[in-house]
Symmetry: C2
Subunit: 256 residues, 2 copies
Amino acid sequence: MKIVILGSGNVATILGKALLEEGYDIIEVWSRTFSNAKILANSLQSQATDDLAQIRQDADLYLIAVKDDAIASIIDHLGSINGVVAHTSGSTSIEVFSGKCSHYGVFYPFQTFSKEKDVAFKEVPVLIEASDPITLAALKKVATAISNTVKEYDSSQRMQLHIAGVFASNFTNHLYSIAERLLTDNQIDFDLLRPLILETATKVQNILPEAAQTGPAIRNDLNIMATHQQQLESHPDLLAIYTLLSNHINTQRPKK
Amino acid sequence: MKIVILGSGNVATILGKALLEEGYDIIEVWSRTFSNAKILANSLQSQATDDLAQIRQDADLYLIAVKDDAIASIIDHLGSINGVVAHTSGSTSIEVFSGKCSHYGVFYPFQTFSKEKDVAFKEVPVLIEASDPITLAALKKVATAISNTVKEYDSSQRMQLHIAGVFASNFTNHLYSIAERLLTDNQIDFDLLRPLILETATKVQNILPEAAQTGPAIRNDLNIMATHQQQLESHPDLLAIYTLLSNHINTQRPKK
């Protein structure tokens, strides 16, 4: 099976690597910036291009792993393709392909990817959706080869999953950043926080987050919350985040 | 060494267990509610009481692991104690003991504890502070017996660490809860989110959170952010959190 990857960012890189490891042939890597295409193509034993008009026509699968707002303009160049064309986005509907490609779908790996950090792709859920049963079967085959968890969801559910992921991962990581900033300001090593971060995530691997909630807001410890708010007065942005999230936890305490 | 534990909540339970495992003798457990004292005392091969006036006077260490606003009233009953008296709170100053006890300090295990979830206490940082060098040495000895990471910080730094922990753990867990609610509303299994949660926490074990940030806000993907906000319109509370955190990430993007 021959695959073309369009994009050279985190998702394109990690996905390309997982596919190569399972023996797929990445015949071409396209990126808007040739040097980026070249770097990824080299690591995937592939060829690089930055010319959408010259994309190879003979692949079985074209994976579009680019920023959401670039997807439509790339699809405009792939109208003559006979293979399956799929994007990897959580929040772009499958409708983006409608009337433009013959066989199309979505191949969404639900994980946070950074080029510097290897990930066990087998543990990454892959959500698929397709224009027709044959395309669905083709996407499922590839997904199952690289991941232990493959699910079929429609565009609306996939968007909800993406939003949930933004809360549980993107926002969470930003809270880690804020915590790091507070520690650095007070000459405290971030290493002290790392076990707490890992344990917080590990806890909800077996129980639900509601049962795992701890801290002043869930204890209704109003004095401590007020003390913390006073400490944060010199950081109005952090004070606003502290107040909004504490109040949200506090109002959702189970009634006794 | 003989220890009395005051409190029967998550911290009292996990700390008592860690101390017992290292061979310490928990001679008494006090709780305001006798049945709670009894449950914990039984699990620690100890005796239970709910009478502060009758607390045993012959222990070497009294650990006060109760809600912050209950600490001062407990200390009022411990004025005649010769042993070391310490609380386990992040945000209550050591000054709470001043003029009331002879040897006192703070013994703050920096982790999120739930009774249902075992924790490898050796990996939990313990922050200590004491009224005098002899008391400090005593607290350090106990802390070092149960934890690999023991640090001395003053009350002001400990409060900052606690606030950082609220952001990185309590708020983070609440974001997991919100994500779970979004999934449940859309008939999506929370299991799909668990690998993402774990990977997000695992990533920052080696790199700093700023380098690990992903998602629409850091990519400045304004269309996707607007689409997500539209999807959240029926949950004004979640929309407010989404907007505040996305904007905070977005304004902190590195300048190109």
